[in-house]
Symmetry: C2
Subunit: 515 residues, 2 copies
């Protein structure tokens, strides 16, 4: 049995087969090095079924850039391709093409403008524009979509969970239900989106985050299997981690055994001048149990201990639990706000799989070709007007209203500058004659979103740290209208075209239809 | 910006943080090397919403065994752990424990019995039993679940798609919507489950499969952007791949442009003594369009060309399309059976994400502890009887009826042998007094499913090739009752306990309840 060669599988051949057969076709037709521009964007916000996203969070760029820098065709890759045969038994790839792949097909000729990670992003806005040799840009399509679709998807889910948790700490717990090695990209995206910690040790350490966790039911069960009990398991844990004692209280019976035993151990810790951290609830009615737990902990003199909630949590369940606590807690003489302020959210499966919407529909479309040094817009006609990407080079501008809230993203042609204008026309992306005019007085800020990250293969962008990316996410979500952040049926954020881009697009569509 | 260290993130620290804090607790209490047994199983078949699985396909073992062999604590890993501090600012992990991790915490002491890959598997049957030092077996939990949950999930979805496609060729196309590096495990699992090819070049090559693909809309659009047309794009493709010419016909207009242009090119190929492969449909009403396409291709003298269908296909959509073809084709003078027999299925997003059910609920529970050389069953009590795992060492037996069909999986204690018995009691796993008796005459075969794969860290199992795994899957699904394979609301396959295991479990539960 030959060992699976992960290096090959994760290298330059991490792409779809047709990218290579098409690349050879471009090579054979002498157009493989013709500079082309592709735009990356997603068409729809995640729709999780009974709830929907009104925005997404950008993530994944740093890892994509690293991949572009590190992967290139090796002899082994070429050998694999040389072995591919068609129906006739003849080789599919010619030696001249393989030679070109080996020697010249690198991402060194790529230029790229991108929206930075952590930013709020919207449907149908270019997130990345890639310019480079046609065949190279084509081979890049699959890894680009693979990397960015997934991290954006998970960062978005994480941001929703963080919103639902009202900013309380969130820990990503999903590794055992994650998608094999995809767990690491998922953990990073969760941290970008809003999770404060991950239980994933390797990914956390590699990102410079402290990994976090509590303990499992299995610890209590192990003690029980050895003839001891829950209390002795808790004591052993408190002895070893006196300043980090967070106890999972639902292995035997939450209210009758777990919490009373935790309180006993907390009292012993207090006696030894240690401050207990709190408890975790992982089953049952988490709203009811957290109220009862708070009541018992308060009565015992531990009002500052935290209560970690976990068990199939997503934004909707969290929102429901917190709402119920708000309504019900005072009936049990527990102050709802104080209780909410001691909650910590453990989100696992439903975060790491983006439960309800497991894949973002990011696409990568050619929008310009370079002819003798000039970028000539190209367009793809579709029967559905919403599926026609805007042609040519572009910039995306975020418009902030007088309150400082983001009110629209405006896509312009690449040569427009929106600074110092007296009024701004925001054209509906599809419907003729529908537009909105903003006067200078209505606008507090206009900000370009696409920045140059690669120029002819050189990274010309200082990668922000993950903390900076996380701050960026927080700043951007803070500047979103609450309606856009609503978990269910959010308000549709405006994505508009500039008059110039609208005119260019209509002109090109009309010309093709006439032909 | 420090580069993300994938080696660390994918190494031995690819686990949950609490596994390490618990391991230190076991170390501190002197029980870290106490031999313990953990059983791995899943509790529920995937429920995709409007349809449900009645069986799963086992996958992922080979990669898990490779990981166990290859990963161990390195100095870098220990350094990461040494840097972890608690709330007090003091280090969380002691030097003695870290020293033990570095020197002694390897998977070399693990023994494992497993159900081979490719086998049909059922809910609540042990798929793997792991025996080894308590702390090591605990650290293994997360990667084991991560690897096996995901591959089983995708292999199962793939098997359902293959069933719905009535055994016609299936190509896995999902890479761009897959979960970053998880794409490779997903491609492997899809191939095990029933897909015949994958578009993922790296994973296919590493597995010794020929990657497959057609071409993208972008190829036609590129030609159009350069002032040429669909026909010239098709001609260029046919020139380069005369014996592998499969054309995507829906870029412009399927019936008015794509298929007529494809037929033109096919005629030119025929003239040059090449046999065209066929067409791909990626949008629109795939049932209607495939009938019209067949009609046009037949009329043009290409009745043997294939028709590849793609676009958000899953088992239910495929089943619907094929059913509609069966009902409708003859109205257009197309023979339904011949048409179905020329279909090829391209399954992407919904295969690689297991659409509707993105995570298998596999768990890993302690079921025995070794006391002075003897395995003593241990049990975990739960308020829900279905959540109490069967205690002790075990074997799983598949019982085949007189027709040679699998009729039940029977879980016995590890020391039972079911060969040469005159009758067999199959006890309901939860309900008292509910059982089924099978006489020798009712049974054609009794087959043990768990085989020894690792003994004290040595692999004692010859890993089957992926072709052998695929054959195994086919043999097993062929021996399943059609009711169990039904896509919607399948018949519940019997998973039973032997009388001896039932008695042991009841006795242990009663004893604990008395305490």
């Amino acid at each position: 049995m030959k060992k699976f060669d992960h290096v090959t599988a994760e290298g330059i051949l991490f792409t779809d087969f047709y990218q290579l057969t098409m690349a050879q076709l471009y090579f054979r037709n002498g157009i493989h090095e013709r500079p082309a521009q592709f735009d990356h964007f997603f068409r729809n916000y995640p729709d999780y079924g009974m709830h929907q996203a009104g925005y997404c969070i950008n993530a994944g760029l740093e890892w994509l850039l690293a991949r572009m820098k590190e992967t290139r065709f090796r002899d082994t890759d070429i050998q694999h391709l040389r072995n591919q045969t068609g129906r006739s038994g003849k080789r599919l790839f010619g030696d001249d093409f393989l030679d070109w792949l080996l020697k010249s097909c690198t991402f060194d000729g790529i230029s790229m403008r991108s929206v930075p990670e952590g930013r709020v992003i919207h449907a149908n806005c270019p997130l990345n524009t890639v310019q480079g040799p046609l065949a190279v840009a084509q081979i890049l399509e699959t890894p680009l979509l693979n990397y960015l679709n997934f991290q954006i998807l998970i960062a978005t889910k994480s941001a929703r969970i963080k919103e639902a948790a009202r900013g309380r700490p969130v820990i990503e717990f999903g590794m055992r239900r994650a998608q094999e090695r995809g767990a690491n990209a998922g953990a990073r995206a969760a941290l970008i989106g809003g999770a404060d910690f991950s239980s994933n040790v390797g990914a956390s350490c590699a990102l410079g985050f402290p990994p976090r966790g509590t303990h499992a039911h299995s610890m209590v069960q192990t003690f029980m299997a050895m003839g001891e009990d829950e209390l002795s398991a808790f004591r052993a844990y408190a002895d070893l981690y006196p300043d980090d004692c967070l106890l999972l209280v639902d292995t035997v019976n939450t209210l009758e055994s777990g919490i009373p035993n935790a309180i006993k151990v907390f009292e012993e810790l207090k006696h030894r001048a240690h401050e207990p951290v709190g408890i975790r609830l992982d089953s049952g009615d988490l709203a009811y149990l957290s109220i009862q737990a708070a009541k018992m902990l308060n009565k015992a003199g531990f009002p500052d201990t935290v209560i970690v909630l976990s068990n199939q949590l997503d934004e909707i369940v969290i929102w429901q639990i917190i709402s119920q606590i708000e309504e019900e807690a005072s009936k049990y003489e527990v102050d709802p706000e104080s209780l909410i302020n001691r909650l910590i959210i453990g989100a696992g499966t439903r975060l790491i799989t983006s439960h309800g919407y497991p894949a973002l529909d990011g696409v990568y479309k050619m929008t310009a070709l370079n002819v003798k040094g000039d970028w000539v817009p190209s367009i793809k006609i579709s029967e559905s007007a919403s599926k026609i990407p805007s042609p040519g080079t572009k910039q995306v501008w975020r418009i902030y209203d007088k309150r400082g809230r983001a009110t629209a993203d405006l896509i312009s042609t690449g040569d427009e500058t929106l600074k110092n204008i007296s009024s701004l026309v925001l054209h509906h992306p599809i419907e003729e004659g529908v537009f909105r005019v903003l006067n200078q007085d209505d606008i507090s800020e206009i900000e370009p979103l696409l920045v140059q990250v690669m120029k002819d293969g050189d990274q010309v962008y200082k990668l922000p740290s993950i903390d900076e990316i996380r701050r960026r996410r927080k700043d951007d979500t803070d500047r979103l209208d609450p309606g856009v952040k609503r978990l269910i049926s959010p308000h549709r954020y405006h994505v508009s075209l500039s008059q110039k881009l609208w005119d260019l697009k209509q002109e090109m569509v009309a010309k093709i239809k006439k032909e």
